[in-house]
């Protein structure tokens, strides 16, 4: 027992004196717990999330007004009322809204034309569901399904109101006509006058008027050509070069998980730096006729090349391997190549910078590996790799602005989903490159302190 206690005490002391190790063991899981909980709560887009959905009423009539009332009073999402379809397009492009519902011109008229059996116009009323292609499909679909259900319900409500009004009008007209016919009929003619004759005749007329003699045909007079939904909901990606562009799951996942993989270079890169520090090779390099720039540039070049290869590899998987497993989503590679190169290079630099920084400050492989991998998961959660940033609670959304993975995700989605050019992703590229430079400067300062 004494030996056991001695060994236990030894291990406990060693552990207690390893402050970075303890911080990793206790602080990192706490941060993970908080962030993952918030993230999971946000997996279904709701009013609590930061997702904003614009509504534009180009119809400006019964259906449009009723739909806006129903959407807003439904309290499901954060709706923003916009002036027109064009304004909605702009709001989605500028990132003010992630999606928009545009009620097309003449929607009410077209909806009511369903009731007109003689109408030759068979085109249904249309609502455009405009979305940012950077939004992951699962979340887009969740919102679209809810909104579409409400659109159809509103359409049914409007139609029923119109139809019941029509039926009531028709019944009234029919009974008025019957009454007038009865009033004009002298069925007592030829019957000798007797007391109460007129009273009896009036009574008979009144009772006959109450009898349903066939009346109007009560059925929903749908136009013969009508066979589908009441309102056609058309999906449309903002930023698309052509209306045929429909980004699939891969269009989001390939850039997102490439970025995730890139940042995992922190483990081999930090490990390599720690090896150099502990084996004395780093100091020995400093005694050789080699500059610090040559030593660090070689490492940066290698890991940037590895990150680029990761990107190409995952691109290959998405393009050629996923279809073998029945994945039908097409991956569109018709993107702005200089912008893509800038996104890959700046993300690779940022990932490499993160690895160098971790290697400079960590003392052991264990610290670097645990801190590095957990940090990458946290930055990925905040960066919109697993869940779009817009569905996160406000506090996490604000924190996410400092995640290099968010800048990387935005840059890649800009290229792949929004078809941006270099200018469209310039902010993200600058932030990623700036992060790399800052990481290297901090690492140099740490190395100099040695």
């Amino acid at each position: 027992m004494r030996k056991f206690l001695a060994i236990f005490t030894k291990d406990a002391l060693l552990m207690l004196r390893d402050w970075p190790g303890l911080a990793i063991l206790f602080i990192m899981p706490a941060v993970l717990l908080i962030i993952i909980t918030f993230t999971q709560e946000s997996t279904i887009p709701s009013k609590k999330s930061g997702m904003r959905i614009g509504i534009a009423d180009d119809d400006s009539s019964g259906f449009g007004q009723a739909l806006i009332t129903d959407l807003v009073s439904g309290n499901w999402f954060n709706f923003v009322i916009l002036g027109s379809g064009a304004e909605a397009q702009e709001a989605v492009r500028e990132g003010e809204c992630q999606m928009a519902v545009i009620i097309s011109d003449n929607a009410t008229e077209r909806l009511f034309s369903i009731l007109d059996r003689d109408s030759a116009d068979s085109s249904a009323a249309e609502v455009v569901f405009l979305y940012d292609p950077g939004m992951q499909r699962i979340f887009r679909d969740a919102v679209q399904m809810s909104v579409t259900t409400l659109i159809q319900l509103t359409a049914i409500k409007i139609l029923m109101l119109e139809y019941t009004g029509e039926v009531n009008r028709s019944i009234r007209e029919h009974s008025d006509e019957l009454n007038s016919r009865l009033a004009g009929t002298d069925f007592m003619k030829g019957i000798p006058a007797f007391p109460y004759r007129d009273n009896i005749a009036r009574k008979i007329r009144e009772e006959m008027a109450k009898i349903n003699t066939g009346g109007p045909e009560i059925m929903l007079p749908l136009s013969p050509s009508f066979s589908e939904e009441l309102v056609k909901v058309r999906e449309e990606a903002a930023f698309a070069k052509s209306s045929e562009f429909m980004p699939g799951v891969l269009q989001n996942n390939i850039p997102a998980f490439t970025l995730f993989a890139m940042f995992f270079v922190v483990i081999p890169l930090a490990g390599s730096i720690i090896n150099e520090k502990t084996h004395g090779t780093f100091d020995r390099m400093r005694t050789l006729p080699v500059t610090f720039l040559q030593v660090s540039a070689a490492k940066v070049m290698l890991f940037v090349a590895i990150c680029t290869l990761q990107f190409i590899f995952l691109l290959f998987i998405g393009k050629y391997v996923m279809p073998l497993f029945g994945e039908e989503s097409t991956f569109d590679m018709h993107v702005n190549m200089p912008a893509l190169a800038a996104a890959v290079l700046s993300s690779s630099l940022a990932a490499t910078g993160f690895g160098i920084l971790t290697g400079a400050f960590a003392s052991t492989h264990g610290q670097a590996a645990t801190f590095g991998s957990v940090m990458v998961v946290i930055l990925a959660l905040l960066g919109g790799i697993f869940v779009p940033v817009h569905v996160l609670p406000e506090v996490l959304r604000n924190i996410s602005y400092i995640s290099p993975l968010r800048w990387g995700t935005d840059a890649f989605l800009g290229v792949f989903a929004r078809h941006s050019g270099i200018t469209g992703i310039l902010t993200e590229v600058t932030l990623l490159t700036g992060f790399f430079i800052l990481s290297v400067l901090l690492s140099i300062s740490k190395f100099r302190k040695r």
Partner: protein, 250 residues
């Protein structure tokens, strides 16, 4: 014949900011061309701090260091090609083979092509490493690692060679080989600074010995001078103990 000074150190002080410890307290010395200087001292005497300053790895707090007329650390890059360092630790890449390590350091020292191959072959032949060239350093014995560590410090035949306990943990056979090689280099004109805890090594190899203790230079002379000047001492070990005492050091 008066030899040119290779290293000139004046009033060298090094105080570590983090610990507040003063490792060197005003050391002044000169090392001349062709000297084989033994730098001796008990643990934490300041030997490693001193050699690290010479190599430009640590900046002195005060004092001046000049090597080949270049101020250190400011102008260290100018003379790196003329200096060689064999550190105490095996500062090599365990994931590379013996040959790859040797070639890497050769290239970093400015060798390439046929000259690189020729020099690498020459050194692997001298240190009998031919059979081990393709082995990963990770799988090599301590003796092989020591030999490669030495080769990478002398690859470019430096004019000034600084060795920090190069025979730590090696067997007598290898020790003899290293001594022979270093003596040969010194005979050909290489100035050598050699730190060691083995007094016999210093007595055998060094033309001059400096003893450092508590960050100060406490003895300077040839081994025979130091022995003869210390009453009752028959060898350098006894001189060392007499000067530094028998108290254990940190």
């Amino acid at each position: 014949m008066v030899m040119k000074p290779v290293i000139t150190v004046r009033d060298l002080v090094k105080r570590y900011n983090n610990s507040g410890e003063t490792a060197l307290r005003g050391i002044s010395l000169t090392v001349h061309e062709g000297e084989f200087l033994g730098l001796l001292g008990p643990n934490s005497a300041g030997k490693t701090t001193f050699t690290s300053i010479l190599c430009g790895l640590i900046t002195p707090t005060t004092g001046t260091v000049t090597i080949f007329d270049a101020g250190i650390p400011g102008s260290i890059n100018r003379i790196k090609n003329r200096m060689g360092l064999v550190p105490q630790e095996i500062a090599l890449y365990t994931g590379l083979t013996v040959k790859e390590n040797i070639l890497l350091y050769g290239r970093l020292l400015g060798y390439h092509g046929e000259a690189l191959k020729k020099r690498a072959d020459e050194l692997t032949d001298i240190f009998r490493l031919e059979e081990h060239l393709s082995k990963l350093l990770l799988h090599c014995s301590g003796g092989i690692k020591r030999r490669v560590n030495l080769i990478t410090g002398i690859f470019h035949s430096p004019e000034l060679l600084i060795l920090d306990e190069p025979t730590l943990g090696v067997d007598i056979q290898l020790r003899e080989m290293i001594f022979g090689y270093l003596s040969e280099l010194n005979r050909k004109g290489t100035t050598i600074i050699y730190t060691t805890h083995y007094m016999k090594e210093a007595e055998l190899l060094c033309s001059r010995v400096n003893i450092i203790d508590n960050g100060m230079l406490i003895a300077d002379g040839t081994p025979s001078e130091l022995i003869s000047e210390s009453e009752g001492c028959a060898d350098l070990g006894q001189v060392f103990l007499k000067l530094t005492g028998r108290d254990l050091r940190d």
